[in-house]
Amino acid sequence: MGLAKAASDAADVDTDTLLEIYRRTALINRTDEKFRALLMSGTLRLVYYPVRGQEVVSAAMMTALRPDDYLVTTYRGVHDQLAKGIPPKILWAEFTGKATGACKGKGGPMHITHPETGVMVTTGIVGSGLPIANGLGLSSLLKGDGRVTVVCFGDGSTNIGAFHEAMNMASIWKLPVVFLCQNNRYGEHTAFADSTSAGRIVDRAPGYGMNAVRVDGNDASEMYAAAKAAVDRARAGGGPTLIEAMTYRMLGHVFGSNASYVPKALQEEAVREDPVPRLRQKLLDLQVPEATLAGIEQAIDGVIAEAVEFALSSPYPDIGEIRKDVLGQEIAA
């Protein structure tokens, strides 16, 4: 049961891996920005949960996974889904409710599923992903398919019953699950310390006999090292790990809501420690040429532009879809 700092391994993260993390980080960062721009301009109208500030956490986490590993995430999940590999086109099309979306537009932003890239469930119910992640892990255990499941959730979600039941079950069954708590300091408008009786989420791990680590999730190397260790451990049959990734939700809970309840000092500190420029600078320091990074960013902008265009020009689903996928058999009209 180690709460050991993963930072010691951080030096091991090679530049190629960091570059891959940056690729995913930039994709997330620019996608999020694009969503907000189109919402601001009125081109889009939907309930959107920004991920600004949390890019590196999921980019590093998912880089440590195999493509066939499973992911379960939440309404605030764009970063996780993109980092896991969902094609931007079908993500955008789903967010806009189009027939070409991942789920034919029937699920929408809070309910992205894309089994091909391992995105198994996106839930809008706080905490509910954790028990489901155990089920994915149990399936892997029973089938022996060697997959690992990552489930993402917020700090506020650690006070709901499902968290507790899932942690206990994963531990006694030694499930190959990585519990990634993205501690972004707020649950909606409530500060972490106002709702949570533990000083740190990892302080709850010993009560589950679970391996746990708290890391600076905004540090790509540290985050990756912790992710890799947890994934390797799970894959090797060593059971679950709780990762508490310290990060920060740089914007309001949902697009359009304000965040005046956040102390100014915290907000300013967060801006100074913005993980995206931080990782970019780190790569430059590692002698990755500026042109390489700019090239990545440019390519991403192209991908996003194409995805937006694809989504906006796609048709809405047929009304008959209401009767499909309710049960195995289509419902009679």
Binding site: V126, S195, I322, V326
Partner: protein, 330 residues
């Protein structure tokens, strides 16, 4: 708020009821996620300003722990307090059904009347605003089927105020359902002290040809359809149940005894919904005088779809309401 308001929103109606109830009775308190002003006065702003006025001890922001929220409310209620618990979305009731159904609804009976649970649970829900499958369900039929529970919903801001105040003063556990698509809707402001009694339906439009029984948001749609049909010479009586359970069978049956035709309309999925009970009751009591079977309009048999055109098609529509009314006219 000093100058008299011309209109108030649904949220303001809620806020007024809470304010009056807390001012009148120190046993009333509010709890729920983000309800205190420090947390923004609730995501729907229904509790805005209350913690400033009554203190964050009586307007308590909670962790994201719905079982603990309702449990705490139940425990306080059996000591004589009158908690008002906010559960942001109705679908989140699924994580605390045990406290509501096995405890709040049953403690009075199981204790032989030694304790009671004067608890009000407020929740928002409703399709049409793009929240998708897990934030839009209308589950009132579940609670109506639970002896010991009352279920209430309002179709306008003044009713919201008057019904919520009655719910808080009522000695039974009451689920108070708010349609999120209506929070911003404006309506006439009620007088201070305005209350709407529980258990009584309201005839919101008189008519002689057919009775439409409905509640909540569809009241407006039904009224619009009634207006249209009036132009065609069809006189529709519209009843707003206000209290869904136990429902005011007397008002419903009196009306249908006059019109001999009825349609029930609600946003919930039609199958096994509240409409089935109301329809059955009418058939049972007025079978020989009914000119046509009681019609039912509800939403489609599927989870609430996200895609906007699907979401709209999923909902009951004015056309469907009009068609159901016409069908009773043969």
């Amino acid at each position: 708020m000093n100058a008299p308001l011309k209109t108030i929103s649904f949220s303001q109606g809620i806020n007024m009821a809470l304010d009056e109830a807390m001012a009148a009775d120190p046993n009333v308190f509010v709890l729920g996620e983000d309800v205190a002003d420090e947390q923004g006065g609730g995501v729907f702003k229904a509790t805005l300003g209350l913690s400033a006025k009554y203190g964050a001890s009586r307007v308590r922001s909670t962790p994201i722990s719905e079982q603990a929220i309702i449990g705490a409310a139940v425990g306080a209620a059996i000591t004589g307090m009158r908690p008002v618990a906010e559960i942001m979305f109705m679908n989140f009731l699924t994580v605390c059904m045990d406290q509501i159904v096995n405890h709040a609804a049953k403690l009075r009976f199981m204790s032989g009347g030694l304790t009671s649970v004067p608890l009000t649970i407020r929740c928002g829900t409703g399709a049409g605003v793009g929240f998708g499958g897990q934030h839009s369900d209308m589950l009132e039929a579940w609670f109506a089927h639970v002896p010991g529970m009352k279920v209430v919903t309002a179709s306008n801001p003044a009713d919201a105020k008057g019904l919520l105040l009655s719910a808080i003063e009522d000695d039974d556990p009451t689920l108070f359902i708010e349609n999120v698509a209506m929070y911003a809707a404006q309506g006439a402001p009620p007088e201070a002290g305005y209350k709407v009694p529980l258990g009584k339906a309201k005839v919101v439009r008189e008519g002689s040809d057919v009775t439409v029984i409905t509640y909540g948001r569809p009241v407006l749609e039904v009224a619009a359809v009634a207006e249209t049909l009036a132009g065609e010479g069809v006189s529709v009586e519209v009843i707003d149940l206000r209290t869904i359970a136990p429902f005011d069978a007397e008002t419903v049956l009196n009306s249908v005894a006059k019109t001999n035709r009825a349609v029930v309309v609600h946003e919930a999925v039609k199958a096994f919904g509240v409409g089935a009970e109301v329809s059955s009751r009418i058939h049972e009591e007025l079978f020989s005088q009914l000119k046509a079977p009681v019609g039912r309009v509800g939403s489609k048999y599927s989870p609430v779809p996200f895609s906007p055109p699907l979401e709209q098609a999923w909902l009951y529509s004015r056309d469907e309401i009009a068609a159901a009314i016409r069908k009773t006219l043969g």
